[in-house]
Amino acid sequence: MNAPNRYELYVLEEGERPVEVTEDTKIPNAATIKIVKQDHTLANLLRSQLLSMPQVLFAGYKVPHPLHPYFLLKIQTDGSVTPTQVLETACTKLIGTIATLEAKFKREFTFKDVDGGVQEDAYGAPVTGGSFEGNSYVDLF
């Protein structure tokens, strides 16, 4: 009844900016980045990407409220690059990673048609005839 509309989770409102960067005044090379209409999916990806980069001293995020579709990403760097730049780099790298992943996936998926033989279910086990006998643990709803 009180549930917010589903689209509010991903559709930007009028005049809303998707990314806001607040430079921290006291801590050097630190910034808090507010990313709206996104959730843990992106936040976690970004954080782990950031943490794997040597210039990053600290990267963390929080989702202040589960019903508010935004998160705050905190980044501190060693000074060689600004947090904004690091975030951009991280995003680029992430896009690259995901593109590679997608390509790989597609390639593997085409093998299915080439091999043509065995169908596989979600767990990679060969499925015969699409029936679920013997796989009773599969959630059938």
């Binding site: 801590i27 954080r47 963390g60 202040p64």
Partner: protein, 1310 residues
């Protein structure tokens, strides 16, 4: 006559070595013995028959006893003791079997007769003739002839002869007797053979005078132990045989040589058995009489040996040995346990076998509980009394498991509950059952904790659980009060129990009232209980008649306990209390009661009034009965009164009333007693006059006098003219001199000395806890402390102004230096911490109350000293605040506010502390005073009356008793603010963290508008100051522990938890506030590893003096939220917002030490592996007392080791966390660091080499650490040299050639 009579009593002898068998031919008609009615015992029947047959007085045992062969039957039927030879020559010894003993008897008789003088023989003969009549010789002669005749005919031992009745003394009786016997032995295997039962009792006949067996010492045999089952062996009384084992003879019976006799019997009997199948006979003889097999062989020789249809008969004998499944304890009737070996041997006649199962003597507890529900009142009563005796002993076991009944140690609580249930069930019965039940209840309730009978200042709920709190519910809590109390009320009303039982009931009530305030309330609310108590025990009829009962002073004690329990209960007692005036209106000397009793009644009544007055109740009686009280005052303070108790009670009451008069609006109802009245009655002059007659020994009275005078002077300060200047002057005129050189000075000196001695004793005897043995010492210490506290109060009351400020000159002299050192010793004494250890006496805190009251008064005294530095006072205040108990809240609040007011900019600047101005901008400490006040605020409904009664305390006290110790444990969230934990100063943060539900925030003044950061600044400053002054004045026992400081600082960070938004950046996080940051860093500085060289020692300390952090956290979190949950939130917060704040990172580390469970390490290292690289804390900055705690013992959890590896190879770990990871990985790999060198170690090494970067591999390979000695920090731990390098290389070789190759450079370098 020195010699025993010739015609002696009959003594049973064993007729033959073999058990007898009944004549079979008489019963073979049907194959069964003839039916015989058994309404009479075999014995009685036999005797009846004998009488019927002979019509003659039986002198011998009526023979029920069988003989093994028919021939014996005849002989058996004859009188056993033969007439003396002088009258009748003994019959010739011609019979075979019994003849042997007959012969020997004859010989003996002959010998005795021969040994006699002629006169003696004559005398004996006369006696016999007189007893048996003139025809006795004829009778005996006939008997003898018959016997001799039979002997001749008896060549073959034919059975027909036995079947014939033998004249005249051998009627058919024996055969019936035999039959009965055989019948008996089948049906009632355990009934004792009648021969033995009757042997000690001569048969009786109505027309005969009573004679007693003339037993010489030689007739008595002491058996080492009697057989447990009469069935096995006859219980008492044949003379000892070989099979009886060793016996002690009390002397040999002259003339009898039992042994040889028996042996002869056996041989003759064996020779006599020719007419029978020898084999069977032997077998039958071997069998025990009465067993089924015996019966079969004897009576049914043709029946198959194991006939299934008579199988049921077999079972019984096999049960006989009865292996006791577990050695249950058996009790005798006096409630003492019977040793297991004895219980199987004790004879049955002791009354210990009346239980259902087994043949053991004594009753198991289950038996007793079962029998205590018997419908036979006598049985029930006696079992209840056994139970009471057991409870009596068991009570001591519960105090000390070696006393009482150590066998039952550990079961006291369940047993006590069962006993109580039994007692309650039976208490409504009448007469002795009811009385025994009350006794049982009394043992279980009152006697159980006998030592606490006089304790009135504390609830004793804790005692209920005993030392081993196995059950959630205590024994007393399990009592069905709503049933029990009306019963007691009824018993008081009816009064048909004996007086002792009624007093026991009263004592039970008293103990229940001691138990808890709730129970006291239940007692008061039980209909008629209080009224009946008054009626039964106090309002006894006057004038006294001989049989009127006297009043029981203990009832007043009980009423006082009830009154002390709560204000409501005290109010409920007010109405009936009017009737107690009867004890007041007549002085003990004029009382109808004996003087001693009247004095006790009077003093108990006065104490009850004092208890009322401590709530401000019932003070009007002073006005109502003022004539009597004036009279009483004169009497009590005159030399006529000898009772110290009475004087002390009266002075206590005066003090309480004076306090009531301080402020007429504080009493209930108001204006009950007025100051003008108090002045008018002139109490103070009487009191001060009374001191003339006291000596140094009357310490208690001195205390009371000082307290009362002080109360008066305090009142005068409020109500008197010009602040009571005049009153003070007149009091001082008397006291000043005396305190400097008079008797008062000596009293104080004695009290000081006594207190010091007691304290010394306490130190020497004290281990970790306050044990029961320390209680008397503590009590003595408390007594002296009370005296000193009273003197201090008087001093303060004599000071010109009430406000705490230094006086130009003291009103009178007290030994300040000694007092100060004593108070310091008390404050720092270890027993305060011992109070809460589980072994401690559960009411010890009540005994410490005088000490805390002394300390609090001393603290005020210190403030008045002109030369006391403020910081010293403050340090003492911080220390003493931790020593206060519920009831001292007012004082605690005043002190805390005093401290907060003292900490000003100037105060700190004077001491050279540089504090940022920003702290003072918003009022400094003022912004946290509401929080501090709240932290020391008592819960209204649990408000405990103060020791130092003030108008405020009497108006709001809800109870006068301390809560039980369990309600005061420092490490729980509890209802009582006091006693304080050492980190109580963090409490403003608690309110910030719980601002939603905090009471303080609802009641803050409107002007209060401080920000979170400001509150935190002020709080941290206060804490810093407290730690500094405590440190400076060597009160290090009151410094916060490392864990408390760490948890307190965690709270500061956790203020950000759950915060929604940084609200536009205007309000930054509290922990980033520079002042807050600085204060926290300062606060933690003494706890970091660099602060002490000891932190590098290894192995880590095995015993930790301070509570672990989760225990500390429980004070704030309560037991519902574990510290782990708090820690996960804390880590989550760090992960999201910290920007790798260094202090934040440092606070993450303490729970990672190996001293804490693996969960914390798992959480941080495994689940938050990515944050480890942001924790760049150098080893010196770690907040720990021992770095080694993080290193040793080596981690065993594989998941955490994996996380170490992951963190090492993936990210750039730095500082301390790197040391920890390298250490544990290395220790898992290298045999010289304690690894087992097996497959896992090799795998781990390979993983490090394959995945790790160059520096990781180098560190792991070159890492060395000491297990004992000093921990090596990086880089020293990577630069050691030694043999171990070779062994590591050798180990690397085992992992493969390429591994060895890679490590070669590292390990062979240099």
């Amino acid at each position: 006559m020195s010699q025993p009579s010739l015609v002696g009593s009959i003594l049973e002898r064993k007729p033959a070595g073999k058990p007898s068998t009944p004549p079979s031919q008489t019963t073979t008609k049907t194959g069964f013995p003839a039916v015989q009615h058994r309404s009479q015992s075999a014995f009685a029947r036999a005797r009846q028959n004998a009488q019927k047959a002979t019509g003659q007085r039986l002198r011998d045992v009526p023979v029920v006893q069988p003989s093994s062969s028919l021939k014996n039957e005849i002989l058996q039927s004859k009188p056993v003791p033969l007439p003396p030879a002088s009258i009748l020559p003994s019959p010739a010894a011609s019979q075979r079997d019994p003849d042997a003993w007959r012969n020997s008897m004859e010989e003996e008789n002959l010998r005795r007769v021969e040994a006699m003088t002629e006169e003696e023989r004559e005398q004996e003969r006369a006696e016999i003739l007189e007893k048996f009549g003139p025809h006795v010789a004829e009778v005996l002669r006939k008997a003898r002839e018959a016997r001799e005749a039979k002997q001749k005919a008896d060549g073959e031992g034919s059975q027909e002869v036995g079947a014939q009745p033998s004249p005249p003394s051998s009627p058919s009786r024996p055969r019936i007797g035999e039959r009965t016997r055989s019948f008996n032995s089948i049906m009632r295997p355990s009934s004792p053979p009648s021969s033995s039962a009757s042997s000690s009792r001569p048969p009786s006949r109505a027309d005969r005078k009573i004679r007693f067996a003339d037993i010489t010492p030689g007739d008595i045999h002491v058996y080492e132990s009697a057989p447990p089952s009469p069935r096995r062996k006859a219980l008492a009384l044949p003379s000892p045989s070989d099979s009886d084992g060793p016996t002690i003879s009390l002397g040999e019976w002259k003339g009898s040589s039992q042994k040889s006799l028996r042996r002869r019997e056996e041989t003759t009997e064996a020779a006599q058995d020719e007419g029978r199948d020898v084999k069977t006979e032997v077998k039958v003889a071997d069998l025990e009489e009465g067993t089924p097999e015996y019966i079969r062989q004897r009576f049914f020789p043709s029946a198959p040996a194991h006939d299934p249809s008579v199988q049921w008969m077999q079972a019984a004998p096999e049960e006989e040995p009865e292996p006791e499944a577990e050695p249950t304890i058996r009790f005798d009737l006096s409630g003492s346990p019977i040793p297991a070996d004895l219980s199987s041997k004790l004879p049955t006649h002791l009354g210990l076998h009346h239980h259902a199962e087994g043949s053991h003597a004594g009753y198991t507890l289950d038996d007793i509980f079962l029998l205590s529900r018997s419908t036979v009142p006598a049985q029930r009563a006696s079992m209840l009394s056994v139970l009471a005796k057991i409870a009596h002993k068991l009570a001591r076991t519960s105090a000390d498991s070696k006393k009482g009944i150590p066998e039952l140690a550990g079961q006291e609580l369940p047993l006590r509950k069962r006993m109580l249930a039994t007692g309650v069930e039976a208490m409504s019965e009448r007469a002795s059952v009811g009385a025994r039940a009350v006794e049982l209840l009394w043992e279980c309730i009152v006697w159980w904790d006998d030592v606490i009978r006089d304790l009135d200042g504390v609830e004793l709920r804790d005692l209920d659980l005993g030392t081993t709190a196995t059950s959630s519910e205590g024994a007393l809590a399990s009592l069905p009060l709503d049933y029990m109390l009306p019963q007691i009320a009824n018993a008081f009303a009816v009064g048909d129990f004996p007086p002792e039982t009624l007093v026991q009931l009263l004592e039970i009530l008293h103990r229940l009232a001691q138990h808890s305030n709730a129970m006291a309330t239940t007692i008061v609310s039980t209909k008629g209980l209080i009224a009946n108590t008054f009626q039964r025990f106090l309002l006894t009829p006057i004038p006294l008649a001989d049989d009127t009962p006297l009043p029981t002073p203990f009832a007043l004690t009980f009423l006082r306990i009830v009154a002390l329990s709560s204000r409501e209960n005290a109010s409920a007692l007010l109405d009936p209390a009017d009737s107690l005036l009867r004890f007041v209106i007549s002085l003990p000397t004029a009382s109808p009661f004996p003087v001693g009793l009247a004095t006790t009644l009077l003093s108990e009544t006065l104490r009850l009034y004092a208890a009322f007055a401590s709530y401000g109740l019932y003070a009007h009686i002073a006005t109502t009965a003022q004539e009597h009280f004036l009279q009483l005052n004169r009497y009590v303070l005159s030399p006529q009164c000898l009772s110290v108790n009475l004087r002390s009670a009266w002075l206590e009451l005066i003090e309480a009333w004076i306090v009531c008069a301080h402020d007429p609006h504080r009493t209930t109802p108001t204006h009950e007693i007025l100051w003008s009245q108090v002045v008018g009655w002139g109490w103070i002059d009487d009191i001060l006059a009374a001191r003339e007659r006291l000596t140094v020994q009357d310490e208690e009275l001195w205390r009371r006098i000082w307290e009362a005078s002080a109360a008066f002077l305090e009142g005068a300060r409020i109500n008197g003219l010009r602040g009571g200047e005049e009153e003070r002057a007149s009091a001082l005129a008397i006291l000043k001199e005396s305190f400097s050189s008079g008797v008062e000075q000596r009293v104080v000196a004695v009290a000081l000395e006594g207190a010091r001695t007691a304290l010394g004793k306490l130190s020497s005897g004290l281990r970790q806890a306050i044990l029961a043995s320390d209680v008397p010492v503590l009590q003595e210490l408390g007594r002296h402390a009370n005296t000193l506290a009273a003197a201090t109060r008087l001093f303060l009351a004599c000071a010109p102004r009430a406000t705490p400020e230094s006086l130009p000159e003291p009103p009178f002299i007290l030994p300040f230096a000694e007092l100060s050192s004593l108070c310091a010793a008390i404050t720092n004494h270890p027993f305060w911490t011992g109070l809460y250890t589980p072994e401690s006496t559960l009411y010890a805190h009540a005994l410490c109350r005088p000490l805390s009251s002394l300390l609090s008064r001393y603290l005020r005294l210190v403030r008045t000293m002109p030369n006391t530095a403020l910081d010293l006072w403050m340090a003492q205040a911080f220390a003493i605040l931790c020593r206060l108990f519920p009831g001292d809240e007012d004082f605690a609040q005043r002190t805390a506010i005093g401290i907060a007011e003292t900490i000003t900019q100037d105060f700190l600047r004077l001491r050279g502390w540089n504090v940022p101005e920003a702290v003072w901008d918003r009022g400094g400490m003022a912004i946290i005073t509401p929080f501090l006040k709240y932290a020391l605020r008592p819960t209204p409904e649990l408000r405990v009356g103060s020791v130092w009664k003030t108008p405020q305390s009497i108006s709001i006290a809800a109870t006068q008793r301390l809560p039980p110790l369990s309600a005061l444990t420092p490490n729980e969230r509890r209802d009582h603010a006091l006693p304080l934990a050492k980190d109580w100063l963090f409490s403003p943060l608690d309110h910030l963290l719980r601002s939603g539900e905090s009471e303080v925030f609802k009641n803050l003044p409107e002007s209060w508008d401080a920000s979170e950061a400001e509150v935190v600044r002020a709080t941290l400053l206060l804490i810093r100051v407290s730690q500094e002054v405590l440190q400076y004045h060597q009160l290090s026992g009151f410094l916060m522990s490392r864990e408390e400081a760490v948890f307190g600082c965690m709270k500061v960070f956790m203020l950000e938890h759950g915060q929604q938004e940084p609200s536009g950046g205007s309000q930054e996080e509290v922990f980033r506030d520079t002042i807050v940051e600085r204060f926290m860093t300062d606060l933690l500085a003494p706890f970091s590893a660099s602060a002490s060289q000891k932190s590098l020692r290894t192995p880590p300390p095995s015993i930790h003096t301070s509570d672990s952090i989760d225990v500390v956290a429980k004070r704030f979190l309560g037991s519902a939220v574990p510290f782990y949950q708090w820690y996960t939130d804390f880590v989550g917060l760090y992960d999201s917002i910290s920007f790798a704040h260094p202090l934040f990172a440092r606070l993450l580390l303490p729970p990672l030490s190996m001293r804490y469970p693996v969960d914390y390490r798992k959480y941080l290292w495994a689940d938050f592996n990515h944050v480890m690289r942001t924790i760049r804390v150098p080893p010196e900055a770690v907040i720990t007392g021992s770095i080694a705690e993080y290193l040793w013992p080596v981690e065993v959890d594989a998941e955490v080791v994996g996380a170490y590896l992951r963190a090492l190879v993936k990210g750039s770990l730095d500082g301390f966390v790197r040391l920890v990871a390298v250490h544990h990985i290395s220790c898992k790999i290298w045999p010289d660091l304690g690894s087992d060198g097996e497959e896992k170690a090799q795998k781990l090494l390979r993983a490090v080499i394959d995945q790790g970067g160059h520096d990781v591999v180098r560190d792991v390979v070159l890492y060395r650490q000491n297990r004992v000695g000093t921990i090596m920090l990086p880089p020293a731990c990577f630069k050691q040299q030694g043999e171990w390098k070779a062994s590591r290389l050798e180990f690397a070789g085992r992992c493969g050639a390429e591994v060895r190759e890679r490590l070669k450079g590292l390990l062979e370098g240099q």
